[in-house]
Amino acid sequence: MISFSLWDILRNLLLAGRWTVVLSLVTFLLGGMLGLLILFFRTSKSGALRNVARIYIEIFQGTPLLMQLFLVFFGIALFGIEVPAWLAAGLTLTLWSASFLAEIWRGCVEAIPRGQWEASSVLAMNYVQQMRYVILPQALRIALPPTIGFSVQIIKGTAVTSIIGFVELSKAATVITNATFMPFTVYAAAGLFYFILCWPLSRYSQFLERKFHAAHSH
């Protein structure tokens, strides 16, 4: 048996932690883009589009991320395509995070007073123009704290991808545990790494929220 020092454990976790960071960033970017599209559907004038968005959100928020992961993993395989774990992981997390981001942002869009919509429609703006020039710039400010808060959920969500064999922080922790028989130390260290990634984001989100509230209270 190879002997692992504490430093070996930390170094290996840190190396695997890169993939947690990469997967989180990719998910945040792609999930944000898809989330924006669903937000447009969710707030559009067409009832059919609104329903599509509503059902999408209900399905992805009402089922476990793990099941979604398995469905994507085995679902793509049905077409005879060999699915690498990173692809299934990235795709599932993107679909999942888009549903939450769309719903978070919907709250922010709805917080913009009705008059803003009416005034911009009087100026003969179409829906996309209203969103682009009037609603989104205002909603963005309100949306910033909860969006950063949700990025913490994305980072934590990546842990589940270890189950289909994507080697990130959690998978590395399990592998190292199997090699060292030191679960207490290894999982505590892995938890610590997640904490180091997430805590600053949580604090920043709280800080922004407080700042926003302070600006609006009289």
Binding site: G62, V160, P183, A190
Partner: protein
């Protein structure tokens, strides 16, 4: 080559599915009640006397909210036996859920507690109510009323999160799906059915929580 769907063979294992659903329900029933109880205690500790409890509870909340549930579960299930505490899969799963939900609900309930108007508390003090009475009747109930939707959502999220408990061999719904696809090699169908059941459970749980809210929490205090 078109794929032929084959759902029937999954239903041959409906006994396994039912057992899985019951275990998931058991997890969220026990974990939910105890988790909210921890949350109420946590909210009390973070807002009332004694003051030394506050940083302890804050550290607990921050640690749990900023680490994945899967790591918490593994830490408890694999970590505790290595320091001499023996624990079954089910106990580990419930403990992890209680600790996890406890941290989130502490934060949610605290937000409600903080929002209770000071005048209400002063009025109660002038009626010479004790601190415990004030917390129970004057602070907690209106606080729960305010944050009940947020708390309900969190309970649903924890129920869905319980799917990863299959990784420590708790025989809940996702474990049942794993078991079935291992037997009939119909992975997609097995997971699709399990996912649909989860969706139904989530919708049902939300309705039940709404009912609990209107029956037991909103009814008596609304005047």
């Amino acid at each position: 080559m078109a794929y032929q769907f084959e759902f029937l063979s999954t239903f041959d294992y409906s006994g396994v599915l039912v057992k899985g659903v019951l275990t998931t329900v058991e997890l969220i029933a026990v974990g939910g009640v105890l988790g909210v109880a921890v949350g109420i205690f946590g909210a009390w500790a973070r807002t009332q006397e004694p003051r030394w409890l506050r940083p302890v509870v804050s550290a607990y909340v921050e640690l749990i909210r900023n680490t994945p549930f899967l790591i918490q579960l593994f830490f408890i299930f694999f970590g505790l036996p290595s320091i001499g505490v023996q624990i079954t899969e089910m106990q580990a799963a419930i403990l992890a859920m209680v600790i996890n939900l406890g941290a989130y609900s502490t934060e949610i309930i605290r937000a409600g507690v903080v929002a209770v108007a000071r005048g209400q508390i002063e009025a109660a003090l002038s009626l010479s109510m004790t601190r415990v009475q004030i917390f129970r009747h004057i602070i907690l109930r209106p606080a729960l009323q305010k944050i009940w939707p947020a708390l309900s959502s969190q309970i649903v999220i924890v129920m869905l999160g319980s799917a990863v408990c299959s990784q420590i061999a708790v025989e809940e719904l996702s474990f049942a799906a794993n078991f079935i696809q291992g037997r009939n090699f119909r992975a997609f169908e097995a997971y699709l059915i399990a996912t649909a059941i989860y969706l139904l459970l989530a919708i049902l749980l939300r309705q039940i929580l709404r009912l609990i809210g209107t029956r037991f929490i909103f009814a008596r205090s609304s005047t």
